[in-house]
Subunit: 636 residues, 2 copies
């Protein structure tokens, strides 16, 4: 059962698609207070209670023991002590001594102290007095999740080819670089379906333009790649370059489609193209206009996009830079003391994504000027909605691949997400794993992390182990940053190990796709913490290095360097399967702890009693997959 | 057997105390080359080979799969992709298909590509042509380590009270704050032996001065604390404030004791006191002078110190700041493009510890001007040697507690080390664990990390779990940074859990101290990877979450949040002991994998067959420990 409580006059987020009667907040069933325009509520937790949720967020599956903040943030440093990532997914689920779910539908800042200040108390603070809270109750946690998911509408389903292996890098600077990647994979006989175009495919980083020198005859090039079974996936950024004569800028300016400052002038800030204006995605007319811009590229045959920098990321504002340069000029020739030095350094370091810049932005929502800070967490979601709505109008459902960096619940209906700019850290294999069920709970089924790690240099073994988890994530994309070591599979010694891993993915695609569609249709989870399936098993309850996959499987990736395997916990007897290329090795294992050997070219999988998993024949493109020729790994 | 190879004319580091005949580098037994003044050598690794060593360094016990750099670095961000920490410990040990140890005695940069570029190849590059390399061979890895340790001389042994629990914070700003900490611990009945004085105890951050407003009558205060059984441990920084009339500065200036620039003027850079000069610790006269400065504090009854910022850390140089401000002034009023913006931001972010500043420094070594970059890794070690030599002259061995942030092998004879500015990250429990055996191999026995984590906010459970590892580390110090959450044990709810953990330390002190002294006297390790004790056990060989302790025990701290225990691997039958306050619970466990429950107030310990561990009665100060009243936890 879902009970909706309303306080003040909430801004419509369109997160919830089902209409619920509003109850006055005075009836809200948790201890609460409204002070200084902020609403705070609290609940006690018993030692064995687990708090799930918060979608794409730092730390564990069990969110206890930290304070999180819902505030979409462009922060490429996903360490344990971060409070926010790129998304704001305001759903939590407590399970243990009692069970309930809570969804806070509020697009500004929410702080979640889940036993940080006091270990057995959660205190949640909503930075405003206009919001809806939904309290969801049912007998079992999975029913609470299903109730919630029913309320927020069906999840986005991408095209089938989006389950193929995808290779990305910031950047493949030109057609030759893209071709070299395709050749590299082809020559090593490693499957591949997509190659990504990061910001450099554009003319001066201008959305919906092509750098003709780097990609001459782009329309023919797209078709040539299509013929090779390769989809090119360009990036689209939130900021629109301020440049006279650039049609997107000119149209936006002429129609008043950009975000404003208090004085009515366009808000401007520096992003990749230099000074940009920012489409006011909170406005339906702007969404329609911007969504149709994607036609420039779909007309050329492009059928997939990733929306980036839409928190929105701001490298600097013109005002911020001026202030910093003024400060520097004042200090010139003066004897700088230590606090002066740190103040100066902090000034330059704090230029990006500055709170005072966000506070300068205004949106036009149904004719009303609304400060950005009140709706910050909707910006990226509504950028993606702009595209998603256009794609659905124009092509129908599931034809265009679309995923976003920033998101809010509701965006799950029109797109997937990726988990942003992670690092080539072994610990980020587990961070990726832990986010999967949480993102699923919030409706985001098509998701994944940058396999191999985006920032800093990776290693051969890290890429292989990361990919062996990625075999199971709907978005299976290897992506890395400018200036880091190349990490395409064929770049390393013995590329056949990469083929062995990625081939397993292709053999599993029929199974993974069906599992995905079933979860989307039934408001279910692809990935579940073991605790949801085995709530009475104390070891399973706390296990955060393994996940249940669909109704049939358990996954347990290797996440440490220099090991030949890992310890795994089986909450019941299972069939342990090692998959490698065409090879399928099976070992029945009993309930309990086991050390399993897993080589760098092997993918471990565990099949439950009474279940089976189909494998198709190996293929190097998703289009070549023959769904009729299946063999089964059976534990019946 | 140790074979010494010499190339060129090495700078004397005094790392090795035994005299070995020099062999010409042409006989060096590994594939090598000397190009552009750099010496490179390489060796192949079999799949099962483990490479140990590098002392205080990032990542795992097995160093394979990364590239490390020996270059003492003031970097407070100990993530997986770092290459250097504060120390330069140039010893590695390969064990598996064959065994050998290598010590590179060279005080400038050394790069260690241990299977990063190619998984089965190590390539080591020495950034110079004047060095000694020692190749150490023996039948067993532990014999290689012992041979090496014999060559570098006996490890520092601190006073017994240095095994007590120590509380630190940047900063306890005045005597009232220090007293509040002691009262907090006393009132909660939690043992305590030391309270640290971070930079704010000084007058304007000037070494060997006292802020009289914050600590009036400091000499009486020190004695009052001594009467309470509390040692005050002040920090000493490498940089000496440039201030007319400040005696340390005036003496250093008058005697030409500071590092110079090429033009013969003193090198100056900003650190805590603002602009500083840097004692030329590479010069024996300077060491003698600076070492005797500690007398100012030992005369007051101070008997412990920590030397900091001695990589040396440089916040900025006067030249660097001027250049940055000039750049800012040039950009004023101009239209800043994106690369201009990032260049400007990077300029300010790169002001600290800039390579061009290090390259401006010159030392006076026996009358010769030597550029700092040639001896960088000796600077902190020689600062600490200055103090250690004074203490030994004045007080004899083992009377004064001394540990340092920066270090080079050789400094282990006169001091301990701490592992620098870690984070309040769960992953740093394991990083701490992994560094212990590596530091031991290089002679650093008295060592430990900032328990609870230095940077960013900690949580109650993290501090408890961190302390439960710290129970076994010779230096058991809780330390945290300015602006972070207070993390003294009594600050959290149910402080009795902290008492339970720290009391266990005090009960173990006779055992831990004896184990320490035995390792120091026998050139042994306090902490060993399981692989050294069980080389034929494939699970033990790869285990990096447990350690052998002394001849009797194995330790296995809990390192994850929100768990009631952990999985542990027993390479043989052992007695599992849970220690908590006065409580001792024993569970015989058989060889193999086990899930063990460990509450937040419990310390897990494993005792080998045929061994026993003494426990003394609980005490709240080390001086109250009665070594005559021991009980034994016996697995005989």
């Amino acid at each position: 059962m879902i009970t909706k409580y309303t306080c003040g006059k909430p801004i419509a987020t369109e997160a919830v698609t089902v209409s619920f009667p509003s109850n006055d907040i005075s009836g809200f069933p948790f201890e609460n207070s409204l002070n200084d325009g902020k609403f705070t509520f609290a609940f006690k937790m018993e030692p064995k209670d687990i708090v799930y949720g918060l979608g794409e967020s730092p730390r564990g599956i069990n969110k206890r023991g930290w304070v999180y903040e819902s505030y979409c943030s462009d922060d490429p440093f996903h360490t344990e002590t971060k409070q926010s990532l790129y998304a704001a997914h305001n759903f939590i689920l407590l399970s243990g001594s009692r069970q309930f779910g809570i969804f806070i539908d509020f697009p500004a800042r929410v702080s979640w102290d889940i036993g940080y200040t006091i270990q057995d108390v959660s205190e949640i603070t909503i930075d405003g007095a206009d919001f809806d809270i939904y309290v969801i109750s049912a007998d079992k946690p999975l029913e609470i999740i299903r109730e919630f998911r029913k309320a927020i509408g069906k999840s986005y389903i991408p095209p089938k080819w989006a389950f193929g292996y995808q290779q990305s890098r910031w950047s493949y600077h030109n057609a030759e670089a893209v071709d070299a990647v395709i050749d590299g994979y082809n020559n090593a006989d490693i499957p591949l379906d997509c190659v990504y175009l990061d910001i450099d495919y554009m003319d001066s980083y201008k959305d919906f333009t092509i750098n003709d020198k780097a990609f001459p005859n782009f329309d023919e090039y797209v078709k040539e790649k299509q013929a090779q079974g390769i989809h090119l996936i360009p990036i689209i950024d939130a900021g629109v370059k301020k440049e006279d004569g650039y049609c997107v800028y000119e149209e936006g300016k002429a129609n008043g489609f950009f975000c404003k400052k208090a004085d009515g002038e366009n808000f401007e800030a520096g992003v990749w193209p230099g000074v940009c204006c920012f489409p006011d995605f909170l406005n339906a007319d702007v969404r329609r206009w911007f969504g149709e811009k994607y036609k420039t590229l779909t007309d050329l045959g492009i059928d997939g996009f990733w929306n980036d920098m839409n928190e929105p990321a701001l490298f600097y504002s013109v005002e911020g830079i001026e202030k910093a340069l003024d400060k520097a000029a004042d200090l010139k020739g003066k004897n700088l003391d230590l606090s002066g030095f740190f103040n100066l350094k902090d000034t330059f370091m704090g230029l990006s994504n500055a709170q005072e810049d966000y506070a300068r932005i205004y949106h036009n929502i149904n004719g009303e000027a609304v400060n950005h800070q009140r709706v910050h967490n909707l910006y990226g979601a509504n950028m993606t909605k702009a595209a998603g709505e256009y794609f659905e109008r124009e092509f129908g459902k599931g034809k265009i691949l679309m995923f976003s960096r920033a998101s809010y619940i509701g965006a799950h209906r029109s797109s997937g997400i990726w988990f942003g700019d992670n690092h080539s850290w072994w610990s980020h294999i587990l961070l990726n794993l832990k986010m999967l069920p949480a993102a699923n709970m919030c409706g985001f089924l098509y998701c994944g992390a940058d396999l191999g790690g985006f920032n800093e240099n990776s290693t051969r073994d890290l890429v292989l182990r990361f990919l062996a988890l990625g075999v199971f994530t709907p978005l299976m994309r290897n992506h890395s940053a400018l200036g880091t070591r190349d990490q395409e599979g064929y770049r390393f010694e013995n590329p056949e190990d990469f083929r062995d891993i990625i081939q397993v993915r292709y053999r599993l695609i029929p199974y993974l796709y069906d599992t995905f569609v079933r979860a989307a249709e039934n408001d279910g989870l692809i990935f579940r913490p073991l605790s949801l399936d085995y709530p009475d098993d104390p070891i399973a309850r706390e296990c955060e290095t393994q996940l249940m996959l669909g109704d049939e499987c358990m996954i347990a990736p290797v996440y440490e360097q220099n090991v030949s395997g890992r310890t795994v916990y089986l909450p019941e007897d299972m069939l342990f399967v090692k998959l490698s290329g065409e090879r399928v090795d099976k070992y029945p294992l009993s309930k309990g702890l086991h050390y399993i050997e897993v080589a760098l070219n092997e993918v471990p999988l565990f099949i439950k009693k009474g279940k089976q998993v189909p494998l198709c024949r190996p293929a190097t493109r998703t289009r070549d997959i023959d769904r009729e020729k299946l063999e089964y790994i059976s534990n019946i």
